[in-house]
């Protein structure tokens, strides 16, 4: 199974998601074609209700602990409750461009 599918499966199984979008953004970065190094996750869930951003990100980081230990290089993470997602008009921020730094 590719890493993108693993990320989707793990998040979908551990978080009660109303919306889950996992985007492979590796092509925007200084890595070989077909890489799975840079991902963006947009996640809408009532599980985040009442939780500060730090706690939400910790939840996701924990679920993806294995992937974050070297398999993937970057994870852009945008977490919303249903109401916050409506306030954001259903769009998450764009990820920054690559600046070519290694590691």
């Amino acid at each position: 199974m590719n890493i993108q599918a693993v990320i989707e499966r793990k998040l979908a199984s551990d978080i009660n998601a109303l919306h889950l979008d996992v985007v492979n953004e590796s092509n925007n970065h200084n890595v070989p074609a077909g890489s799975e190094s840079h991902f963006k996750v947009v996640l809408v869930s009532e599980d985040f209700s009442g939780k500060p951003l730090l706690a939400r990100h910790r939840m996701v980081n924990k679920i993806l602990e294995e992937e974050l230990q070297g398999k993937i290089h970057a994870l852009a993470l945008h977490t919303y409750t249903q109401a916050e997602w409506q306030d954001a008009f259903g769009t998450a921020p764009l990820s920054p461009p690559c600046l070519g730094g290694g590691k």
Binding site: L53, L54, N61, A74, L75, A76, P96, L99, G101, K103
Partner: protein, 105 residues
């Protein structure tokens, strides 16, 4: 000094510090760049540590506050978050308030 003690000293000696790839003037990663830009836009002085120039901190910072990625922003000794959280707080105006309060007391 043990590396975790060294990180702790940096975090506690500076009201606002970002651990990033590169420097605010010459960032080496898009996420670090945006984070430093948000801090600069707060208009107060902040410290930075280039983790690419300090392999020991690069290796060990993730276990300091149990946070696996870079950049990392600390205000008054507490982890605020990485790029996405810092930017979201900046857009809401919360980051400017926290930074001003930390620096000016």
């Amino acid at each position: 000094m043990d590396v975790l003690e060294r990180i702790g000293k940096i975090v506690n000696d500076n009201p606002v510090v970002v651990f990033m790839k590169g420097t605010p003037q010459l960032p080496q990663c898009g996420f670090s760049s945006r984070t430093a830009e948000a801090l600069m836009a707060c208009g107060k002085e902040f410290a930075h540590v280039n983790v690419l120039a300090d392999p020991e901190i690069f290796e060990n910072l993730p276990r300091y506050a149990d946070w696996p990625t870079f950049p990392q922003v600390y205000i008054k000794g507490e982890l605020i978050g990485g790029c996405d959280i810092t930017l979201e707080m900046f857009q809401k105006g919360d980051l400017q308030k926290m930074v001003a309060e930390a620096v000016d007391g």
